[in-house]
Amino acid sequence: MEFSEHIKTANVEDVVLRRPFYQPTKGTLCVTGHHLIFSNRGGDSARPFLLLLRNIDAIEKSVENLPSVSSGTITLKCKDLCVLQLDIPGMEECLNIASSIESLSSLETVSEMYPFFYRPPFLSLQDQWGLSSTEQHYAQMKEIHDGWRVSQVNRDYSVSPSYPPAVIVPHSIDDETLVKAARFRQGGRFPVLCYYHRETGTVIMRSSQPLSGANRKRCREDELLLQAVIDGSELGYIIDTRSSQQAQQARMTGGGFESKSCYRGWKRLHRQLEKGKVLQESLIKLVEACGDQSHSVDRWLSKLENSKWLSHVQTALSTAGLVAECVERDGHSVLVHGSEGTDTSLLVSSLAQLILDPDSRTLAGFLGLLEREWVQAGHPFQQRCAHSAYSHVRLRHEAPVFVLLLDCVWQLARQFPLAMGFSEPLLLRLAKEVYASDYGTFLCNSDQERCVTGVKERTHCLFQSLLRANERQHYSNPLYERTELAIWPSIQPPSLQWTCAFSPIQWPFDMC
C-alpha cells in the first residue's frame, strides 16, 4: 500500500501552529508518509518543524462551517506528552489532514515505518547494528569463563522465540538440558546469566515462571540448571516479582513457582511489582495529574497519590535494592522472574546492575545494559509502547515498563549525581525514542522479529548514534566521577521526587 493513498490533502497554506512556550506561527503544513512538516518561510527560524506521525498518540478535531468562515482545529497529543494545536483554514482541508494523520500514525507494518526510510548522511547501513553481541560481552568477562559458557542453543529461535540466539549459562549444563529446562519455562525463557559480581563471585539471573501448573509438575533439568548456579552448598534467592498469592494463582493457568522441596538451597521471596494495564493506567493518571489546569496543590497531590506512579517507582527501586543486597552484602546468587520474564524481571535486574556495577553507569555502559537487558532480552517494545498516555484506543498490551525504568534511573542519578556518566537529557531522549523514533532499535518485540523484518540491515541503531562524538558530549554528565562502590538509593518517600518530565509543559525555566 502506498502512503499517498492516505493523503488526500498534502499541503495547506496559512495554518497556525500553537505549542507551549512558542508564539503561534503561521505557515504551510505538509503531510508526508511519515511526517507532519510545518514551515513558515517568512519566519525567523529557517528550519521547518518536523513531527513524526508515529509520535501522535491522540488526535482531536473540531470544525466550524459557516458561510463566513470555514475552518478547523486539530489538537495533536503526542506520545512524548507534548500537545500541539493546528488551526487550519477550510473545513475540508482540516478533515482531510485529520484523517491522513489518523491512518498514517497507526500503521502497524514494521517495514513501512520511518526507520526503514531514515538515511542521515552521518550514518551508514554498513555500520555494526547494536553495540555488542552476547559473544562479545562474554569475551570481555574473563573472570566468568571457568564457570560459564555461551550457548547457541537458541540460534534459530526454536527454544525461546523471545531470547537472543546466544545466552550465557553455567558451564556444566549442556544444550540438551537447556532445551528441556526451556520447555518447563513460559516462552522457553530458561534461567540465563545477566550479571556476574566479581567481588563475591555471585550472579544475577533471570527467567520466566516455571510451568509447574496445578499438578506441581517438576523438571529435573530446570532444577539441575539452578543447582549448578549455586553449586550445592550455598544459598540462592529467587526474587519473584509477583505476590505469593499471584504466584499461587498462576498455577491454575499452567504457571507457577519453584517449590522449596524441588529447588534445594533456593529461597523464594515475593515482591509484587505492577505491570501491564495497571502500570499503563498509572501513567495515564500521572500525565493527567501533571496537566491539571486547576492550579490547586491539593488536587495535584491527591491525583499524584491516586496515580500510584511513585509507589511503583519505590517498589521497583526497593526490589532492585533487595537483589543487589543479596548479591553484594550477603554474597548469594539471585534469580529474578515474574511470569513472562519480559517486563518486571528486566526492570529489576537492570536496576540492580546499575546499583552494583560501575561499568553499567557510564554512558556506553548504560546503553549496553539497555541493549542486553531490554532489546536483546526480548522486551516487547512494539506491544508495550504502541500507545502512550493520551490514546483513547482500547488498551491491549501497552505498559510503560521502560519509562518506569527511566524514572527509577533518574531517581538514582538524583541521589548520586556524580556516579552516573550520563545525564538527564539522555533519559528524556530515550523516553521519546521508545515511542517514536528515526531509529530501528526499539522496533519489534524480539530479536527474532528484528531479524525477520530486516531491522538490523535496513535501519540505523539509536545506541550507536548516541555514542557519536557530539551526541556523546551532549548526553554525558560533566560531573561524572567513577565510583567502584555500590550506590544504595534511599527509598523513603521524601527521597523520591516527582519530576515534571511527565508534564505536557516541559521547559527549562532557567534559560541562561
Binding site: 495529574a289 501533571c290 491539571d292 492550579h295 490547586s296 496543590v297 491539593d298 488536587r299 495535584w300 497531590l301 491527591s302 499524584l304 497519590e305 500510584k308 511513585l310 509507589s311 519505590q314 538524583r414 541521589q415 548520586f416 549525581p417 556524580l418 556516579a419 560531573l479 566521577e481 567513577r482 565510583t483 567502584e484 562502590l485 550506590i487 544504595w488 538509593p489 534511599s490 523513603q492 518517600p493 521524601p494 527521597s495 523520591l496 521526587q497 516527582w498 515534571c500 508534564s503 509543559i505 521547559w507 525555566f509 532557567d510 541562561c512
Partner: protein, 592 residues
C-alpha cells in the same frame, strides 16, 4: 546556670529515628548554651550539638525496657530521641531544657552571652555592615517622585516601623499623619521597593480602619499620591493578601479593607494567604508527616496534601508573582497589606523584590532584603519564633515560608542566585538560635530600647566571612536585572527535604553537586595561589624579581570566584596541573 540540675549524664542512648539500627551510646552534657551528646560507643568521637534556643519541644515518654525516653524536637527540624538510664536524671534534663530553651526574659538569650572575641570597633562596624536605608539610595531615592522622611524618627507616627520611611514627594505632612491614624497600629503606606525601569513601586501598610463605612480623606490622598508618583500608570493595585472572608470579618471590628468607591483609580484584589494560626497548624501537620516511620508513598503524599503546607507556599508565591508582574509588565504601582502588615505583607513584598531585582539574589542583597522588609519593618521575630516563654499562639513559621519560596525559586533557576541552599538554612538557623542580636525583638524601637547593638553582635558580617560556603557555583550574574517568571504550576512546588529532613542524612541525596563544585573551586583557588607562588619563586631564581623577603607581600586577595581566563604560558600550565594533582587526594568514594 541555676537551671542546670545535672550537667552530665552517662550511658545515654541516642536512637536512630528511622531505622532499627543499634542506638548510639554516649554522654549527655548540658552547658549554659548547648546540649551536647558525645558518642562513646564508636571509635571516632562523634558529637551532636544542639543550641538550647533551637529546642521547640521536650517530651518525656513512659518508661521502656531500656530507660526513660526523652524526645526533643528543634525549631530547625532536628529531632532527637534519647533514652536516659535513670528517672531522676531524665527529670532533671527535662526541667533544665524547658527553662533553658525558652527563658522568661530576653536578656537571658544566648546573644547576650555570646562573645566572639571581637573588640567594640568590630562590633560597631559589624552592625553597620548592612544598612537598609542605603538600599533606597541604590534604588535611586530620593528622586523626582519619592523621598525619605524622618517623620517617624521618635517612633511617634508608628511604633513598629523603622525611623526612616520612603513616601511620595507630593504627600503633605498632614496627609501622612492622617493616613497613619487611619491604619491599624499606625502602619501607614510606605515604600518597600521602587522599580527604576517602570517607575512602579511596591508599597506596604496595614489594613485601614474602615469598618463598615468609615473613610479618611488623608488616607485617600496618600494612595492618590502613591499612584501619582508613577507617571506610567493611570491606576494602582491595592492587594489585600488575606482571604476575602477574613478581611470582611475584620470590618465588623472597625478594620477591614479599602472601599474602591472611595479611592480613585485603584484596582482592589484579594490573594488569599491564610493567617499565622493556619500556617502554624499546617507546619505541625507537615512535621507529623516527616515523623512517620517508614510511611508508604500513599501515606506520605496524602499526609503532604492534608498538611496544606505546599498549598500555602504556592499562595505566597502566587502573590509575589502577581506583584512582580504588575510592576514589571503593567508598570503599575502596588500597595500591599494584610491585617497588621508584618507577616504576609513582609513575605509577599520581599518575594516580589527578589523576582524583580537581581540584587536580592546576591548574598549581600538577601541580607539587605531581610534587614529592610523583615527586621526594620517590624516582623515580630521574638513572638513568631517563640524566643522567650510567651503566647504560643503568636508563634508561626512565616519567615520559614519566605525562605521556602526562595528555595523553590532557586530550584527553578539553578543559575539565577548567587547563594545556595546552605545560605538559606544557615539564616534559618540563626533566626532561631539567638546567638546574634539581629532577630531578637519585635521591632526597631524594641531593639533600640534593649541596646542590642551594644550588647550583642550582628550575624551579617559573620555570614559574610563564611560566604565561600554559601556561593552557588552555577550563578550567572549575566541574568542581570531580568525579572524572574517562575512557573507556579502545583507540580513545581516540591517538598523541601533539605530543610525538614536536614538532619536525616539517609534521606538526602548521597552525593551533592554543590559540595562537589565548591570543593573544585576551593582546589582551584589553592592551586592558583600555589602557582603564583611558584611563578614568583621562578622569577626570583631567574633574577627577574628581587628576593621575596624584600618584596612587600601582596594583600591577601579575597576573590569569591577566581577569574576564569588567566593567561598561562605552557610552562605555567604544567605547574598548575601538578599542584592540582597534589591537592586532589580525595576521590568521590569518600562521599558515599
Amino acid at each position: 546556670m541555676e537551671h542546670i540540675l545535672t550537667p552530665k549524664v552517662e550511658e545515654v542512648q541516642l536512637l536512630d529515628r528511622y531505622t532499627a539500627k543499634k542506638p548510639a551510646i554516649g554522654t549527655l552534657y548540658l552547658t549554659a548554651t548547648h546540649l551536647i551528646f558525645v558518642e562513646t560507643s564508636c571509635n571516632t568521637r562523634k558529637e551532636t550539638w544542639i543550641i538550647h534556643h533551637h529546642i521547640a519541644t521536650v517530651e518525656k515518654l513512659p518508661l521502656t525496657g531500656t530507660g526513660y525516653p526523652l524526645n526533643i524536637s528543634c525549631k530547625n527540624f532536628h529531632v532527637v530521641h534519647f533514652v536516659i538510664p535513670s528517672e531522676r536524671y531524665c527529670q532533671d534534663v527535662y526541667h533544665s531544657l524547658l527553662r533553658l530553651s525558652q527563658p522568661a526574659k530576653l536578656e537571658d538569650l544566648f546573644a547576650f552571652l555570646y562573645n566572639p572575641k571581637q573588640d567594640e570597633d568590630d562590633r560597631r562596624n559589624g552592625w553597620g555592615f548592612i544598612d537598609s536605608a542605603m538600599d533606597f539610595k541604590r534604588m535611586g531615592l530620593p528622586n523626582e517622585f519619592w523621598e525619605l522622611t524622618d517623620l517617624n524618627k521618635n517612633y511617634e507616627l508608628c511604633s513598629t516601623y523603622h525611623s526612616e520611611l520612603g513616601i511620595p514627594k507630593t504627600a503633605r505632612k498632614d496627609t501622612v499623619l492622617g493616613s497613619a491614624k487611619f491604619r491599624s497600629r499606625g502602619r501607614l503606606p510606605t515604600l518597600s521597593y521602587y522599580h527604576k525601569e517602570s517607575n512602579g513601586a511596591i508599597c506596604r501598610c496595614s489594613q485601614p480602619l474602615s469598618g463598615i463605612s468609615a473613610r479618611c480623606l488623608e488616607d485617600e490622598e496618600m494612595l492618590q499620591a502613591i499612584s501619582r508618583a508613577n507617571p506610567n500608570s493611570t491606576f494602582m493595585y491595592v492587594v489585600d493578601t488575606r482571604p476575602k472572608l477574613n478581611a470582611m470579618a475584620n470590618r465588623a471590628a472597625g478594620k477591614g479593607y479599602e472601599n474602591a468607591d472611595n479611592y480613585s483609580n485603584i484596582r482592589f484584589q484579594f490573594v488569599g494567604i491564610e493567617n499565622i494560626h493556619v500556617m502554624r497548624n499546617s507546619l505541625q501537620k507537615l512535621l507529623e508527616v516527616c515523623a512517620m516511620k517508614s510511611p508508604t508513598m500513599s501515606d506520605y503524599l496524602t499526609g503532604l496534601e492534608n498538611s496544606g503546607w505546599l498549598r500555602h507556599i504556592k499562595a505566597v508565591m502566587d502573590a509575589g508573582v502577581f506583584l512582580a508582574k504588575a510592576v514589571a509588565d503593567e508598570k503599575a504601582s502596588v500597595l500591599v497589606h494584610c491585617s497588621d502588615g508584618w507577616d504576609r505583607t513582609a513575605q509577599v513584598c520581599s518575594l516580589a523584590s527578589i523576582l524583580l531585582d537581581n540584587f536580592y539574589r546576591t548574598i549581600k542583597g538577601l541580607m539587605v532584603l531581610i534587614e529592610k522588609e523583615w527586621i526594620s519593618m517590624g516582623h515580630k521575630f521574638t513572638q513568631r519564633c517563640g524566643h522567650v516563654d510567651g503566647d504560643p499562639k503568636e508563634v508561626s513559621p512565616v519567615f520559614t515560608q519566605f525562605l521556602e519560596c526562595v528555595w523553590n525559586l532557586m530550584e527553578q533557576y539553578p543559575c539565577g542566585f548567587e547563594y545556595n541552599e546552605k545560605y538559606l538554612l544557615e539564616i534559618h538557623n540563626h533566626v532561631y538560635s539567638c546567638q546574634f542580636g539581629n532577630f531578637i525583638g519585635n521591632c526597631q524601637r524594641e531593639r533600640e530600647e534593649m541596646r542590642l547593638k551594644e550588647k550583642t553582635f550582628s550575624v551579617w558580617p559573620f555570614l559574610w566571612e563564611n560566604r565561600q560556603q554559601y556561593i552557588n557555583p552555577l550563578y550567572k550574574c549575566s541574568l542581570g536585572r531580568e525579572v524572574l517568571r517562575p512557573s507556579t504550576l502545583p507540580l513545581n512546588f516540591k517538598f523541601w527535604c533539605g530543610m525538614y529532613n536536614h538532619f536525616d542524612k539517609g534521606m538526602q541525596p548521597k552525593q551533592s553537586i554543590l559540595d562537589h563544585l565548591l570543593t573544585i573551586i576551593q582546589k582551584r583557588v589553592e592551586g592558583e595561589k600555589k602557582m603564583t607562588d611558584f611563578q614568583r619563586k621562578l622569577a626570583v631564581m631567574d633574577g627577574v624579581l628581587a628576593d621575596e623577603c624584600t618584596l612587600k607581600s601582596r594583600p591577601p586577595e579575597q576573590t569569591l570566584m577566581p577569574p576564569v581566563s588567566v593567561a598561562h604560558t605552557s610552562k605555567n600550565m604544567q605547574i598548575k596541573e601538578e599542584t592540582i594533582i597534589q591537592l586532589a587526594p580525595t576521590a568521590g568514594s569518600k562521599q558515599i
